[in-house]
């Protein structure tokens, strides 16, 4: 025991001097090296050049660990981002649907507003909410009724031409009988010859002409408009073209109508009564005389 403690004391004393000498040397080195890490000495550059490739290889496992940790974090983040992106996608899809709906609405309104008027009638723009094209009925339901001034017999036009007439009305809705329905009878005339006839629906897409006053005056391609002789529909509304087989190719051509406009006689507007939320547009008292309607391009998309 005494030997051990003596040995340690001897070691302590023997070791102190070299340690302090080297510490002093290191201190001197520290104070002498004023340039620090910015020093461009050949020694520093050499050490760094030697160390760089070695460190590159040595750091590879550490980069692997970093990549592993980062990948785990990315996966966790990706899950959260995916949830957020799905919500964003749903929101954008809703917005896109709404935008498309508004675009269609605007386009329909633009077409209706720019169409030439045929008489001093009040016009109501309405939406065809359902359209029935069963084997025994060709009819549509629109979202306006007596509250908006719609009356039975009012002419209903799509953007392409005469669509039908109002069969019956409710307070907020009306049933429209289309020209193709077998119960539809409309007084028409040949715009070229002024010859009269009755447009008779038969549940086919192309109605026939009946009670023609002069058959020779109807030729394929003649433009047919309403004559107004029935005392119900105003005259001059575009109907369609005479086909080779004597039937009429309707201007509205059986396409599903989205927006329609209704011509109402003696409509007295009630200011403040309009309810925009039901997508009803009132175009009140358009004092324009009937204008000849040019034959629409049957091949076009309109």
């Amino acid at each position: 025991m005494a030997y051990a403690s003596g040995h340690l004391a001897q070691r302590r004393a023997a070791g102190r001097r070299p340690i302090l000498v080297v510490i002093a040397f290191a201190g001197a080195l520290f104070f002498l090296d004023r340039s620090g890490p910015l020093d461009n000495s050949a020694l520093r550059v050499g050490v760094e050049d030697t160390a760089a490739p070695m460190l590159t290889y040595l750091s590879m496992p550490l980069r692997g660990v970093e990549t592993f940790v980062e990948t785990r974090r990315d996966r966790a983040r990706a899950f959260e981002e995916n949830v957020g992106l799905k919500a964003e996608l749903r929101r954008l899809q809703d917005a896109e649907r709404e935008r498309d709906s508004l675009t269609r609405k605007l386009e329909a309104m633009r077409l209706h507003i720019t169409m030439p008027e045929v008489a001093s009638h009040s016009v109501i723009l309405a939406r065809a909410v359902t359209e029935t094209s069963g084997p025994f009925q060709r009819a549509a339901l629109i979202n306006t009724g007596t509250r908006d001034g719609i009356r039975a017999g009012s002419a209903v036009l799509s953007t392409n031409g005469l669509y039908g007439h109002v069969l019956r009305t409710g307070q907020r809705s009306s049933r429209v009988l289309r020209l193709t329905d077998s119960n539809s009878r409309v007084a028409v005339k040949n715009e070229r010859t002024r010859s009269r006839a009755i447009l008779s629906g038969d549940d086919s897409p192309r109605p026939t002409l009946a009670y023609i006053d002069n058959a020779e005056t109807f030729r394929p391609g003649d433009f047919i408009v309403t004559s107004g002789d029935d005392g119900v529909l105003p005259q001059g509304l575009p109907v369609g073209f005479v086909a080779a087989d004597g039937r009429v190719d309707l201007s509205e051509s059986g396409r599903t109508a989205d927006w329609v406009r209704i011509y109402v006689r003696d409509f007295i507007p009630a200011p403040g009564e309009a309810d925009d939320s039901r997508s009803v547009l009132r175009i009140i008292k358009v004092p324009v005389e009937a204008e000849p309607v040019s034959a629409p391009d049957m091949d076009s998309g309109e």
Partner: protein
């Protein structure tokens, strides 16, 4: 039982310093937190062979510390001053049997804390202390691993107390 100081043990200690010194310039970025390994060579100093020749040991620490300064981009003499001061305070040549792992580990952690406090004090910035804290949190857990590696390599002076 202490043996007479040998040059071979000093070279063995230097080998440990070289191995951990090679890792010192490397950095690790885990989850946005940068971890530097520059404190690892101090483990080698802390576990320097007991029977190593003190003079040669100090000389080797000086040379390798200077090389570390260059590799780390420090002012020359910084790392040797740090490592030699550590060596002086620990005095591995005065270590007695048996080796107390936990006590040594706590001593190492305390030394690291003092180093950080010293650097923060020199810079007069608490932010420096916060910046260096992750580096300390790497070095301290690595200590037992290095100790195990030394034991496996046959360092009898580091034998556990049992």
């Amino acid at each position: 039982m202490n043996r007479e100081p040998t040059l071979l043990d000093a070279l063995l200690g230097a080998l440990g310093l070289v191995v951990l010194g090679i890792l010192a310039p490397l950095g690790l970025n885990l989850g946005g937190v940068g971890l530097a390994l520059w404190l690892l060579p101090l483990i080698a100093v802390h576990l320097w062979p007991r029977d190593a020749n003190v003079g040669l040991s100090c000389l080797l620490i000086l040379v390798l510390g200077t090389a570390l300064d260059m590799a780390l981009g420090l002012r020359l003499g910084t790392y040797p001053l740090l490592a030699l001061t550590w060596y002086w305070l620990i005095r591995p040549d005065l270590r007695t049997d048996p080796f107390h792992e936990l006590g040594s580990w706590l001593l190492f952690a305390l030394g690291i804390a003092l180093v950080l406090a010293l650097i923060a004090g020199v810079n007069r910035s608490l932010a420096t202390l916060v910046d260096l804290l992750p580096d300390a949190l790497v070095a301290i857990p690595v200590f037992p691993l290095v100790l195990r590696a030394y034991r496996v390599s046959g360092r009898s002076d580091l034998a556990a107390a049992d």
